[in-house]
């Protein structure tokens, strides 16, 4: 793996915690790499395993479910 590898990560963020946490990170200007594409869900429990598999097979380097 080369040093400049930039992973593409699909993130599922629970509206009530992780998504709110992401908002707070913004208000607090915490800096992090722009590799994740956020998808808001109403609960991390609604993320079907099939979606995770699909994301990976379609080329995502990682999937993060936060809740």
């Amino acid at each position: 793996m080369s040093d400049n590898f930039e992973p593409v990560i699909v993130g599922f963020l629970c509206n009530w915690c992780a998504y709110a946490g992401g908002d707070l990170a913004g208000v607090s200007r915490l800096q992090y790499p722009p590799n994740m594409r956020p998808i808001r869900v109403m609960c991390s429990g609604m993320v079907h395993p099939d979606i995770v598999v699909e994301a990976l097979t379609q080329g995502a380097d990682g999937v993060i479910v936060m809740g």
Binding site: Y19, G22, M42, H48, A55, Q58
Partner: protein, 938 residues
């Protein structure tokens, strides 16, 4: 209204004129977009009081990241321009021209029917405690400072360090009762009742904040007061995790060598003294009545008690002595969050009770144009990209995003706005939506968590369904967090817009559900809690059915003599029963038991067995107040010797045979009989106060009587501590015992005696006893049937559970059900009454509406469901049922979801192996569209 203070009240209950002074904010709330430019450019640094002075903030500031309202303010005491006439940097840089140095103090008068005081408390300031070196040693901090040090959003970002060196601490000590239970340095003889638990919490949470494996936490205490639901388990858990509890009140804290760390001097019960070195000392500072309360009291005329808390009574725990003025929270007495929240609801019930005839006269409803039908139309997507002044545009190349959005499928209109959230922008959007016949909208701006309702409203104004909107959060989740990488931030913004367009194209109109509400209430349990709830609900205008299992109302209160404040209970109880039985809107059924329940919030139907006959009862909400009972002990010769009694037995003895009690020479009380033991690991909360109160009663009857209270910790929390102080002054002797070394009761020819090890004398002693009073546990009734019936929860000890221990302390996990009194957890009468009023208030929120609107994000069943029922078990709200239906002459199965119970969490959707159930607005198709779209660029 922020920055506002109530300065005067005139008029009478039902019609007050309240005068409010609002200090200038110097920031126009309409214009401020909370971008933080003013704060960034402000040159003046000030101690941040929100973080207890641990760090600095600017003179242009917000209190904290999630402040509501999220609007900046200028601190007039420190602003350079307002104090010295020079600077105005914020004004220059504010992109929306929101800074207004001409802002001035305003006086408002409001006409209101009632006033609720919830002004809180002041954390005790330990600066005068010179023996604890708080001012001189940097490594001595207060509990609230430590709380900020631990907080991930606090000044240390959650990385715990010693203030002196910036290194991680290894040995941390907590000192309890700083500014509480202290009559030598302060006048605060009372217990602040929250510090024991917060110290234990901090000790436990500290371990999560440090990588240091050698971490040692020590708590110095006099009595651990973990007297609330699940608190005792928490305490036991802390002991199990190695937190060291030392029963000692340190007399001196000094800075360590070079003022790094601290040396704590203390003396144990057996008289041995120690000086021990720690890296950090946390002073568990207590609660103090604030000066504002005294000023308000003087102005309005309501009474305060000796400690400056607002005076209330046991049956009216939220009512001040001035009619129409109510009180809640720590202003009334020191208390933890659940009770403050409970009593806040109680105060709402009381404050509105007298105003029922005026309900709904001052609230307004908004109207919208009819909704345009978009079914059958091809998506016509409009994309609005917000610059947010420079908040987005300084990092993300907004023009590139706009150009890119034009290339996306179905997109027919794209534009860039300086501020998409401004009022004129909304009018513009309505115009654009109509003129371009847009039927799907994407707003690429900030977070939907704060702004989705605003834009949904705009869609409705334009005749579009509110759910045809998606937001792309290119500010909080992009420009603000990728400030150093504009190029990739722009790429990410394009991706976010593309994902939102992909999803919104699949969005379809959703209708918020409306459920008709039956305005009747059911109250189960006719004790003081149940009766209080019934009266409160009936006074709010609702028909109430009250069920009592036995043949008389009143429950346990018949057997108790007085409240902890010494108010005789019998007359109050008889009054209350008369009120319930005479109330035109309350129907009482005695010898009644609930047997079935169907339906959900707003519409329940139950069968009730009354004197053996079945009857149907319909109701929109229910309060469960089924109570609890006194445990019958099996130890200490209970049942074998007539003078061994429980509290209720002894109350009866005091009531019926006072002359006989008066002749007693020696009375022994044993605490925690059946509580805080492996088979019942909770504290029964009321028994310590009851014993102390009975002891005082005995001392009144005969001051020469010898009274011994054998205890494990004395838990006279809050202002009950004053009783404990009084009992010691009157000569009641308190002897502590360990659960591993319990006292032993024996009889010799009818003479009772108790053997116990005295930890101060360090030897066994024998106490003669004319009476042996056992502070027996409070145990729940068998709630099994009720739990089965309502599908509600109970804890391991059998007490019914609230939906959330802090924030929803009277709501049950099932919507429309509320609880009050002992069935929830042991508690004294004033707290049971407060909880009952709160339950009534919460039920009133439902019952006062003719229809209830539920949002549309709910599960729904698709054609593919084959009734495998995998989702039934995972649904946390029990909103899914299995049904049979006929098709082509055969019986099939499928699920049905109850929208009133469903919360839209989608656990069913994730569990279903065959796409048989989805959540509106978040279907598998919609989520997959976002995933595909996110990965399209690869």
């Amino acid at each position: 209204m922020t920055l506002s203070e109530l300065i005067d009240v005139s008029g009478e209950a039902g019609n007050f004129t309240a005068t409010v002074r609002q200090k200038p904010r110097y920031v126009d709330m309409e214009k401020c977009i909370a971008c933080g430019q003013c704060s960034e450019k402000c040159p003046k640094k000030v101690d941040d009081e929100y973080n207890m002075g641990i760090n600095k903030r600017k003179a242009a500031y917000i209190k904290y990241g999630q402040t509501v309202p999220l609007k900046y303010a200028i601190d007039a005491q420190h602003c350079l321009y307002l104090t010295r006439g020079k600077c105005r940097a914020c004004e220059k840089f504010c992109p929306t021209h929101a800074i207004n140095f001409h802002d001035s103090e305003k006086i408002f008068t409001f006409n209101v029917g009632s006033i609720i005081l919830a002004a809180g408390y002041k954390p005790f300031d330990p600066t005068p405690y010179d023996h604890f070196a708080y001012q001189h040693a940097p490594d001595v901090v207060t509990g609230l400072q430590y709380e900020r040090m631990l907080s991930a959003s606090g000044p240390c970002m959650g990385h715990l360090v010693k203030p002196s060196t910036g290194k991680e601490p290894q040995k941390i000590a907590w000192i309890q009762c700083v500014g509480s239970r202290d009559r030598s340095r302060t006048t605060h003889s009372y217990c602040s009742s929250v510090c024991c638990m917060y110290a234990i919490k901090q000790a436990l949470v500290t371990a999560e904040h440090t990588a240091n494996k050698e971490l040692q936490q020590t708590i110095f205490y006099m009595d651990i007061r973990s007297h609330n639901k699940e608190f005792e388990r928490y305490y036991e858990d802390a002991k199990g995790k190695g937190i060291r509890f030392v029963r000692a009140r340190p007399h001196t804290i000094e800075g360590g060598r070079n003022n790094i760390g601290v040396n704590i001097s203390y003396c144990l019960e057996d008289g041995r003294t120690f000086i021990e070195n720690f890296d950090l000392a946390v002073l568990s500072t207590g609660i103090e009545a604030s000066e504002d309360v005294r000023m308000l009291a003087e102005k309005i005329g309501f009474a305060l008690d000796q400690h400056g808390f607002v005076t209330t009574s046991s049956f009216d725990p939220v009512t001040s002595t001035t009619p129409g003025i109510f009180v809640t929270g720590a202003m009334q007495s020191p208390k933890a969050i659940p009770r403050a929240v409970t009593e806040a609801s109680a105060a709402a019930a009381e404050a509105s009770r007298a105003l029922v005839s005026a309900r709904g006269t001052l609230t307004r409803q908004k109207t919208y144009p009819p909704e345009h039908d978009v079914s059958g139309e091809k998506p016509r997507v409009g994309v609005f990209v917000c610059s947010c002044g420079i908040n987005i545009a300084s990092v993300v190349d907004v023009k590139q995003v706009v150009d890119y959005a034009h290339t996306l499928p179905y997109v027919v209109h794209v534009e860039n706005n300086l501020f998409s959230c401004s009022t004129d922008a909304q009018e513009h959007f309505v115009h654009i939506i109509k003129s371009h016949k847009l039927n799907r909208i994407v707003v690429a701006a900030c977070t939907p968590r704060t702004h989705e309702p605003l834009f949904q409203d705009t869609l409705r104004e334009a005749g579009l369904n509110a759910y045809l909107l998606e937001m792309a959060n290119i500010r909080n989740h992009n420009s603000w967090v990728h400030q150093k990488d504009p190029q990739r931030a722009t790429e990410k913004a394009k991706d976010q817009v593309r994902m939102a367009v992909a999803k919104v194209s699949l969005n379809y109109p959703l209708k918020n559900l409306e459920v008709k509400v039956n305005p009747k209430a059911l109250v189960i349990g006719g004790g003081v809690a149940g009766m209080t709830a019934a009266i409160s609900l009936a006074d709010q205008g609702h028909e109430v059915v009250l069920l009592e299992r036995s043949e008389r109302l009143g429950g346990n209160t018949w057997h108790i003599n007085e409240t902890w404040r010494g108010t005789p209970l019998r007359p109050l109880l008889e009054d209350m029963i008369a009120q319930v039985e005479g109330h035109p809107r309350i129907t009482v059924y005695k010898n009644a038991q609930i047997k079935t329940c169907i339906g959900s919030v707003g519409n329940f139907v139950s069968k009730v067995e009354i004197d053996g006959e079945m009857r149907a009862v319909t109701y929109g909400a229910a309060v469960i107040a089924t109570g609890a009972k006194e445990h019958r002990p099996t130890e200490y010769l209970y049942g074998q010797h007539p003078k061994v009694m429980t509290h209720l037995d002894f109350d009866a003895e005091l009531r019926d045979h006072p002359a006989q009690v008066k002749t007693a020479q020696n009375v022994v009380f044993i605490q925690c009989v059946g509580s805080r033991e492996p088979e019942r690991p909770y504290c029964s909360r009321v028994c310590c106060t009851h014993s102390v109160q009975s002891a005082l009663k005995l001392k009144e009857l005969n001051p020469d009587m010898n009274i011994y209270v054998l205890n494990r910790d004395v838990r006279t929390y809050g202002e009950r501590e004053d009783l404990y102080v009084k009992a010691r002054e009157r000569g009641v002797i308190f002897i502590r015992y360990e659960v591993e070394r319990k006292p032993k009761a024996s009889q010799n020819g009818g003479a009772l005696a108790v053997d116990v090890f005295d930890p101060i004398l360090q030897r066994d002693i024998q106490l003669p006893a004319d009476y042996l009073v056992l502070a027996s546990a409070i145990v729940p009734h068998d709630n099994h049937e009720l739990v089965e019936l309502y599908k509600c929860g109970q804890n391991e000890d059998g007490f019914l559970n609230e939906a959330h221990p802090k924030l929803r302390p009277v709501d049950m996990t099932v919507d429309g059900l509320f609880l009050a009194g002992l069935c929830n957890y042991p508690k004294p009468i004033d707290e049971a009454v407060g909880q009952a009023k709160a339950a009534a208030s919460r039920a009133n929120v439902i019952l006062s509406k003719t229809t209830m609107e539920l949002d549309a994000i709910k599960s729904f069943v698709t054609e593919k469901c084959d009734g495998c029922a995998l989702c039934l078990d995972v649904c946390p709200y029990r909103a899914i049922k299995l049904e049979e239906y006929q098709r082509d002459g055969a019986t099939h199965k499928r699920i049905v979801t109850d929208s009133a119970l469903c919360k839209g969490c989608g656990l069913c959707q994730a569990t279903c192996p065959k796409e048989g159930v989805y959540v509106h607005g978040f279907t598998l198709g919609q989520l997959k569209a976002q995933v595909h779209s996110a990965l399209e660029a690869i």
